[in-house]
């Protein structure tokens, strides 16, 4: 059978700031048969989105399609004029963008935007289009399908918007749908609902699609075959099962290995080490301090945690739950309003100003974005050398020797010393970030999403470095991430944060087994696994989870509005305390035994 989409030797060029044009897509060819979904996978900058947009004859400002052919059905897209392209877009090929929040016009009600393409292309009249849209909302399991269209985009949640955008794409029954990382901006527990809705829509309509993502586990659920891209070139094209089972290309193998990070052996063995860090009864937030001594926006409440000497604690939770704030409180950047932070048996002052230089030295922070964590105007040796001078008074040759040692320790070439951060790759920058923290010879290292901004392959190398550092230096670490897979790979203990409260702590070994808090259970079950049938088999997919996390309330369990096990009258009246559960787990839930 003739493929529905056939792309041959596609070349796309982009103008650079002052230099000549560069080629960002270098002769890409692939084809997709009717009713199949092709996954495009690659790291950031590999040209995924550019290619996907090109199938609609669209190039972003500054780019142009410089060569090759794009055939969709009978249509040769590169030969279309402006009018022809307009007739193609939204009608034959529809697009679902990465960020629904940005892709909906804030000034127009949702319904008007969903049915817009049907009206533009004159496919039906307005009442019929509305009717059809409501049907699609239902199919997508969007709550309040009858009325949600009257709302404005800022009045619905991210996960719902993403599904509304899918309805917007499907309203014209297009031949081809382009999915451009449609779940990347979502938390995993929301992602699973959206994936489910997409998969069903694709199956029911026999949709032909191109699905762009950087997440191999996600694409494994949706795509029939996968094209692996790197630097604008195709590395490998294979069916999904084949690629997962036996990747042919070297780079595909790396991607695959990084997608399911191996568990790194922990250097700690004995259970009973004295705690190095203890946080108890801690609450903190932002904004003006009120009369009761509490800030206007309370982000963290009654946090209890300990980290044993040499241990690694992983902190996980969805975006905005207060993970970064926790690190900032421990480092003193955001003073706690209540409670204590104790390091090595000594109570620390809440703010930096109250802590001694020695105490500041003992806790070091490593931030997520190496780009913003390193001053772009300061050369590397000064970045790493400054803590040496500041804390140890090192100068001249002594300092220089130590900087070299630190570079060595983090596997950086000595030649980076007099370069600026801008000249380094993302992974190298993150290593400098570590070297600077290690220069202070800290007892406790706080790592906030240190691998999240990196491509998976680079991130895997950073994880290896962390394990090595722990082994060689006996560092105690707190590792913050929204990604369970990375946390599991290197942590001894795991703490789950929801809406500013600790809902569960557990040893890493209890992850797969054990009795979990409903939110923790949902979270664990929502992380896509690298097999094609995960979405059908994971128990989390069958849970009916609704709504968005509410503002932190003191009235009852924070998870109450979304919890599938919630019991009104019990869960919404008091805050559940942390209680031990078999398996070394502690969970904050009234109904653990009910499961």
């Amino acid at each position: 059978m003739e493929p529905l989409i056939d792309i041959r030797d596609l070349r796309i060029r982009a103008r650079t700031a002052e230099g000549p044009e560069i080629e960002i897509v270098k002769g890409v060819s692939f084809s997709v048969r009717r009713g199949e979904v092709m996954g495009l996978i690659g790291e950031s900058g590999s040209g995924k989105t550019t290619i996907a947009l090109a199938t609609m004859g669209y190039a972003r400002y500054g780019c142009r399609i410089a060569g090759g052919t794009i055939r969709i059905g009978e249509t040769e897209v590169t030969r279309l004029d402006g009018k022809g392209l307009q007739q193609l877009r939204g009608r034959k090929v529809a697009y679902i963008a990465q960020s629904a929040a940005a892709s909906f016009n804030p000034s127009r009600p949702i319904m008007a935007q969903v049915i817009e393409s049907a009206l533009i292309h004159g496919l039906m009249d307005e009442p019929a289009a509305r009717e059809k849209a409501i049907g699609l909302f239902r199919a997508m399991a969007i709550p309040h399908p009858e009325t949600i269209g009257n709302r404005y985009p800022h009045q619905v949640s991210g996960g719902q918007l993403q599904r509304l955008m899918a309805a917007m794409a499907l309203i014209t029954d297009p031949d081809v749908v382009i999915f451009d990382e449609p779940t990347t901006a979502l938390d995993v527990t929301t992602q699973i609902e959206v994936l489910k809705a997409f998969k069903e829509a694709i199956r029911d309509r026999n949709t032909t699609g191109i699905y762009v993502t950087h997440d191999l586990a996600v694409i494994a659920q949706i795509a029939d075959s996968i094209t692996v891209l790197r630097h604008g070139e195709v590395q490998e094209i294979a069916t999904t099962p084949a690629l997962l089972a036996s990747p042919a290309h070297e780079y595909s193998r790396k991607l695959l290995a990084a997608a399911e990070p191996a568990l790194r052996a922990s250097p700690v063995t004995g259970e009973t080490s004295a705690p190095l860090l203890r946080v108890s009864g801690m609450s903190a937030g932002y904004g003006l301090i009120g009369k009761d001594g509490m800030p206007a926006v309370l982000v963290l409440r009654d946090i209890e945690l300990t980290i044993g000497r040499g241990h690694a604690l992983g902190v996980i939770g969805e975006s905005g739950c207060g993970k970064s704030t926790l690190a900032r409180v421990i480092a003193g950047l955001t003073p706690a309003s209540r409670g204590t932070v104790t390091l090595d048996g000594v109570d620390l002052a809440p703010g930096i100003a109250g802590r001694s230089r020695e105490q500041l030295r003992e806790i070091q922070l490593v931030f997520q974005m190496a780009d913003t964590a390193l001053n772009p105007k300061v050369p590397i040796d000064e970045i790493i050398g400054r803590p040496l001078t500041f804390f140890f008074g090192m100068k001249g040759a002594e300092r220089e020797r130590r900087v070299r040692e630190l570079l060595d320790l983090t596997h950086l070439p000595a030649s980076v010393r007099d370069r600026l951060p801008g000249d380094l790759s993302g992974g190298q920058k993150q290593r400098v970030n570590f070297a600077r923290a290690l220069a202070a010879q800290p007892k406790l290292l706080l790592c906030d999403e240190v691998t999240s901004a990196l491509d998976t392959v680079v991130a895997a190398a950073i994880l290896d470095l962390m394990v090595e550092l722990r082994r060689e230096l006996g560092l105690t670490t707190m590792f913050i991430s929204h990604d369970l897979k990375t946390i599991r790979a290197i942590c001894d203990d795991i703490m789950v944060l929801y809406s500013g409260r600790v809902v569960e702590t557990m040893p890493a070994a209890a992850l797969e087994t054990g009795h979990h808090h409903p939110y923790a259970g949902l979270l664990l079950g929502s992380v896509p696994a690298l097999r094609t049938d995960w979405l059908e088999t994971t128990p989390a997919a069958s849970l009916q989870v609704q709504g968005v996390p509410p503002a932190l309330s003191s009235g009852g369990c924070a998870f109450f509005p979304r919890c599938p096990r919630a019991e009104p009258g019990l869960c919404d009246t008091a805050v559940p305390p942390l209680r031990p559960v078999p398996g070394g787990i502690e969970a904050a839930c009234f109904r653990l035994d009910a499961a």
């Binding site: 960020s99 533009i120 404005y152």
Partner: protein, 318 residues
């Protein structure tokens, strides 16, 4: 209208009033407390100490500063701007006789300039990167870089001296036919328009380019929407706030431009009055005119803020 919008609008209004009060204080402080003895200045170096002291008393300069301040502020609020130091007539009357002229000049200019500027700015944004856009861009940079009096002189040279289409100086009075009106206002309005159109077109273009490069515009294109629909239905509603801002800010240039234009064309408006007041150091007159201009500016800015609040969908639909 909902409670949030009401509260925001109220906040803006209160802020505007407080700012006006602050501005009044600054004007008072500058004109009263800084070194320089007005009485001495007025009477010249040869005046006897007795004469100076007498005038000081007459002007109320012997009172303590805060008392003078309160009195002055109260008088301003009541609309009593005192008497001119130069000819003794009430400042309010001096201004009153000329305010209309200035308003007409500013009004006609705004009527001409705003549509032209919006058209230029919007088309340049829509055809971003084209030759047309570049010409508009270059033209407006040139226009904002040259002083108003160069524009005015050039206009006089071309239209009055070379072509003899219009008189070089404005003579209000005979405004019987349309031609009279055109001949009187042509050059001042042309000059002022030239100056503010450039500013306004630049800011409008920037605001719209910003909106046009957002994801929802890309999405609209990918739904097959045509250029006109994208601009009118998708982009403009979101650009109202910034564009209102651009208009208000550019019209404030009008205030500055009026000063030069009234002087160069000898146009009997309040800006000319104020400039004369500054040369003769007629402080009550200067104070009153300054408050008038600052008030007008604040009014424009506040109106732009209000427009932006009312146009914001996040506030309108909560």
């Amino acid at each position: 209208m909902n409670a949030t919008i009401g509260r925001l609008l109220l906040t803006r209004l209160v802020a505007a009033i407080l700012t006006l009060w602050f501005v009044a204080t600054v004007v008072f402080v500058i004109t009263n407390l800084l070194p320089g003895d007005v009485a001495q200045e007025l009477l010249g170096q040869s005046a006897t100490p007795e004469a100076v002291a007498g005038l000081r008393k007459a002007l109320g300069l012997d009172l303590p500063p805060w008392q003078r301040y309160l009195e002055w502020l109260w008088n301003m609020v009541r609309g009593d701007a005192g008497r001119s130091l130069v000819n003794g007539s009430p400042v309010a009357a001096l201004i009153g006789s000329r305010l209309g002229n200035s308003l007409i000049l500013a009004g006609i200019t705004a009527l001409v300039a705003v549509p032209v500027a919006l058209a230029l700015g919007i088309t340049a944004a829509v055809y971003r990167g084209s030759i047309y856009d570049r010409i508009v861009g270059a033209g407006t940079v040139l226009a904002v870089s040259v002083p108003e009096f160069l524009v005015a002189s050039a206009a006089v040279l071309v239209f009055a001296v070379q072509l003899r289409w219009v008189p070089a100086l404005s003579q209000l009075g005979r405004l019987e036919t349309v031609l009279d009106v055109v001949r009187t206002f042509a050059l001042p309005v042309l000059t002022l328009t030239f100056v503010i159109v450039a500013q306004m077109a630049r800011m409008t273009r920037a605001a719209l380019v910003d909106v046009l490069s957002s994801s929802y515009i890309e999405m609209a294109r990918l739904k097959g929407a045509g250029q006109a629909r994208i601009v009118v239905w998708h982009a403009l509603p979101n650009a109202i706030g910034p564009i209102a801002n651009a208009i208000a800010f550019s019209l404030s240039f009008l205030l500055g431009g009026v000063i030069i234009v009234e002087t160069i064309f000898n146009y009997p408006g309040i800006a000319k009055l104020m400039v004369d007041g500054v040369s003769t150091r007629d402080l009550p007159l200067v104070q009153a005119c300054a408050m008038l201009f600052c008030g007008a500016y604040l009014l424009l800015v506040t109106m732009a803020d209000v427009a932006a609040i009312l146009a914001n969908p996040r506030l309108r639909h909560r």
